[in-house]
């Protein structure tokens, strides 16, 4: 089964390689892996789509959390979430077919990014199924080039994932902003220390 996992990771060289290597070293299958910046310049966010049963998914989460540069991990087995994929597709388009393609793109709320003598570049975002459906529809016109970003995802409601902690109380109250990176002297090491993990934590991933 396909599962979506998001991870906040430290924004530094080698983290992507570490995560990707962990997946291959442990034989987990990645469908897609997207990484990009977040609101916090120190953190990047990864969205990983894996094919795994429940037990393997638990291992994936735990092994991700074990990597020192991975700050937070969550999956969306029990959380409603929104997910988007972005696609650029360059199609063969003669003056005769151009308007048909533009119409189809419009139906899918796509944008025309570029028009050439014999081509048309469409930008489309949405859930993966929707993009697949569009690709199916335009295939007869001739796909010259196609690029997709892979999925990014986020929980519905007020749940938020940030350095300061996850708002997992389900109240939808806003989360506390990440603490500033400026540091005062004499402070003990800022290491997250878990004293009492809950049953859920023990059975699933250690939360941050």
């Amino acid at each position: 089964m396909r599962h979506v996992i998001t991870a906040l990771v430290m924004n530094e060289p080698g983290v992507l390689a570490h995560v990707a290597n962990m997946f291959s070293a442990r034989g987990f299958n990645i469908d897609s892996l997207v990484v990009g910046r977040t609101e916090d310049p120190q953190l990047s966010r990864m969205t990983i789509v894996v094919v795994a049963d429940d037990r393997t998914l638990d291992q994936v989460r735990k092994q991700l959390a074990k990597i020192v540069t991975v700050v937070k991990v969550r999956d969306y087995r029990e959380t409603p979430f929104v997910a988007r994929d972005l696609m650029l597709v360059k199609l063969s388009a003669s003056p005769r077919t151009r308007s048909e393609i533009i119409e189809l793109a419009g139906l899918f709320r796509g944008h025309i990014l570029d028009v050439g003598h014999n081509s048309l570049t469409v930008e489309l975002s949405g859930e993966e199924d929707k993009l697949d459906a569009f690709v199916d529809l335009v295939r007869p016109y001739g796909i010259r080039e196609l690029a997709r970003t892979g999925m990014i995802a986020m929980a519905r409601g007020g749940h938020a994932m940030s350095l300061a902690g996850e708002d997992s109380d389900g109240t939808g109250s806003p989360t506390v902003a990440a603490p500033p990176i400026a540091q005062s002297s004499g402070r003990p090491a800022r290491v997250a220390v878990k004293r009492v993990p809950t049953q859920e934590e023990l059975e699933a991933t250690p939360p941050g």
Partner: protein, 635 residues
């Protein structure tokens, strides 16, 4: 720790003689650090909040201004309680070696960087302190990959500092350049390429925390030449920044309660104790729980010494070459309590057939170990020492007469044994002699293979940290350098490398290190002129086709002598005990070549793919009833 640490194994006079060696003198001369237990030193200490405390206060500070990276590194090592380090110089790390020249750290120059890594590993296992390695770029760093992987598999705290080409040269295929952070990432808990000297103090503080806390492991810090030579010119912050790092301490009280309810109700419980109990110094708690709740206890290869094998409740080692009684007990158990163990395939045999009747409780500091191989019923995530202490509080004594009777019967029927029926000494007899002479009061290191298993089987392990062996990775050649490291960490104590001829010669050039630093390491080579375990598998599973497993060896005694080390050779059964005594009594380093029987196999043996109860008993099945050796088979 005081009561359980193996006392100095050798007689008093010998101990005194040994103290005359240069290393012991140096260790006394440099007593700038307070002499205390490793747990209370530097970063391994814990404050009341559970947060690791660093060697020196951290924060924004001027104290590094005007110092070079190399100066800062050495200063911080001393602040973190480092007294000994291992390594080899080279171009890219020379600025650091220049500082070492003036520093009080006892530096052990090795003959190959792999040796430095295993020495640091052996040092860490013997003392509990992180092992420190300093090597150069390129080949110097890549030579530490095997020790890093060894330490990573067995969760050993180690920090490797490797030189690197100048930052602006990185990626240019410069001389002695290698992508060391890329190469070592899968075998380190964390690694760093330091890009600016301003980051170095923070990174070193982080490295000590990561290496020594939680589930310990190796950390590598790659130091470009321009980082070690340039100076800090401004106020910098050395506070560790580890937002993604979690350290589990006390276990969840509800899980502990659940676990103890299961244990107190159990008819046939078994404690299965691994290396985690040694790492977290939980041996007193292990013994307390076994005694208070009356539970038989088996240990893994890395857990040897966490439980006293003279105790009637001891089942000795379990697993592929474990005791028949430990394996039967696990398979019959209704409640298996794993402590700091990870259900390795060498322990479980076929997972589908493992402990079929048991509810499984797993105490481990690493949540990713829980339910990784075996589905766990009650997980207790936390430090073994703290969790077991709480569990002891709730433990109830149950007589469990039927269960203990059954175990006693198995122990009587299937003791570890061998037949003394060959002209040359049997390897097991040599290890028995070593056990007899030392009474287990020594630090033992091993290579990997038959001799390692026989050492596990025929030495009666009583003291934590006394077994120093590469379990997870199974690194041949580990024994000699690990013994050197253990000796450096425990000057004045008896350190014996029980090695195989094939393992030994993989790193035998470190004899020169032994000579140079006059370390009184003892080496007992069980020389069967074969890679014994490979030969055993080829005999049992490959039709006796001994493909490339036979060794033509040098005269090991003469070889040792050529290094300026006492070499002995023993070929007759009647000389074994005498030779072992002579070896142990010899005040300096000593290598003994014990010629032993070739065609001897390790039994019991669980063939791969079989359950623990389906083991081949071999000679153990044919043991005459009176052959139960008093060496711990029955107390």
């Amino acid at each position: 720790m005081s009561t359980l640490t193996p006392p100095t194994g050798a007689p008093k006079s010998v101990g005194a003689a040994r103290n005359k060696n240069k290393n012991a003198e140096r260790s006394e001369a440099r007593s700038v650090e307070p002499k205390s237990d490793a747990r209370n030193q530097g970063v391994t200490a814990e404050s009341s909040t559970g947060l690791p405390v660093l060697g020196a206060p951290t924060g924004r500070t001027n104290r590094y201004v005007g110092k070079t990276g190399a100066e800062i590194m050495l200063q911080m090592l001393v602040e973190h309680g480092v007294t000994d380090a291992f390594g080899y110089p080279g171009g890219a790390i020379l600025p650091t070696f220049d500082q070492l020249y003036k520093n009080q750290i006892n530096f052990i120059l090795v003959r190959h960087e792999q040796g430095a890594g295993h020495m640091a590993d052996g040092y860490a296992r013997a003392t509990g302190k992180p092992g420190i390695v300093i090597v150069t770029s390129g080949p110097g760093a890549t030579n530490t990959v095997t020790p890093l992987a060894t330490a990573y598999m067995d969760s050993i705290p180690m920090i490797v500092f490797s030189g690197q080409v100048r930052t602006y040269m990185i990626g240019n295929d410069a001389f002695q350049e290698a992508d060391v952070t890329g190469i070592t990432r899968p075998v380190t808990k964390r690694n760093y390429l330091v890009k600016s000297v301003n980051d170095l103090p923070r990174i070193i503080n982080e490295a000590f925390i990561i290496a020594t806390t939680g589930r310990p492991g190796p950390v590598l810090i790659d130091l470009p030449v321009d980082v070690t030579t340039s100076k800090v010119e401004q106020m910098i912050d050395d506070t560790p920044y580890l937002p993604g790092y979690k350290v589990y301490r006390a276990g969840h009280s509800r899980m502990i309660k659940q676990a103890m309810e299961l244990i107190n109700r159990a008819e046939r419980p078994v404690l299965y104790v691994g290396g985690g109990a040694i790492i977290s110094d939980a041996w007193a708690e292990v013994r307390e729980l076994a005694k208070k709740a009356n539970i038989p206890c088996t240990t893994t290869l890395l857990g040897m010494g966490a439980f006293d094998e003279h105790n009637p409740l001891s089942l000795h080692m379990l697993g592929m070459h474990g005791s028949a009684y430990a394996n039967y007990a696990v398979q019959e158990s209704d409640c298996l309590i794993a402590v700091g163990a990870r259900f390795d395939d060498r322990v479980t045999g076929n997972l589908k057939l493992f402990a079929p009747k048991a509810r499984i409780i797993h105490v481990d500091v690493d949540p990713s170990s829980i339910s990784k191989n075996v589905k766990v019923d009650v997980p207790v995530v936390g430090d073994a020492k703290l969790c077991l202490a709480e569990m002891c509080e709730l433990a109830e004594y149950r007589p469990r007469e039927a269960w203990l009777e059954q175990i006693k019967a198995w122990k009587q029927k299937f003791p570890f044994t061998y037949h003394d029926d060959s002209p040359l000494p049997k390897p097991q007899a040599i290890i028995e002699a070593i056990n007899q002479v030392t009474e287990g009061k020594a630090y033992f290191t091993t290579g990997v293979g038959q001799h390692q298993m026989w050492a596990a089987q025929f030495i009666r392990w009583r003291f934590p940290r006394s077994m120093i062996t590469s379990g997870g990775l199974g690194t041949m050649g580990y024994g000699l350098p690990a013994a050197i490291g253990a000796q450096v960490g425990r000057p004045g104590e008896l350190v014996i490398d029980i090695d195989g001829d094939a393992s030994y010669i993989m790193t035998a050039m470190e004899l020169a290190t032994i000579r140079q630093f006059n370390l009184p390491v003892k080496v007992a080579i069980l020389n069967n002129r074969f890679q014994g375990m490979v030969r055993q598998w080829q005999q049992l599973f490959y039709g006796g086709r001994f493909s490339n497993s036979e060794m033509v060896n040098p005269d090991f005694a003469a070889m040792a002598e050529s290094f300026g080390i006492r070499g002995m050779r023993c070929t007759r059964k009647e000389d074994v005990l005498k030779t072992v005594e002579e070896m142990v009594k010899h005040p300096g380093p000593c290598v003994v070549d014990f010629l032993c029987e070739t065609a001897e196999n390790v039994y019991p043996m669980v063939p791969s793919g079989k359950g623990l109860h389906e083991m081949e008993l071999g000679v153990v099945a044919s043991a005459p009833p009176n052959s139960a050796r008093e060496l711990g088979s029955l107390a």
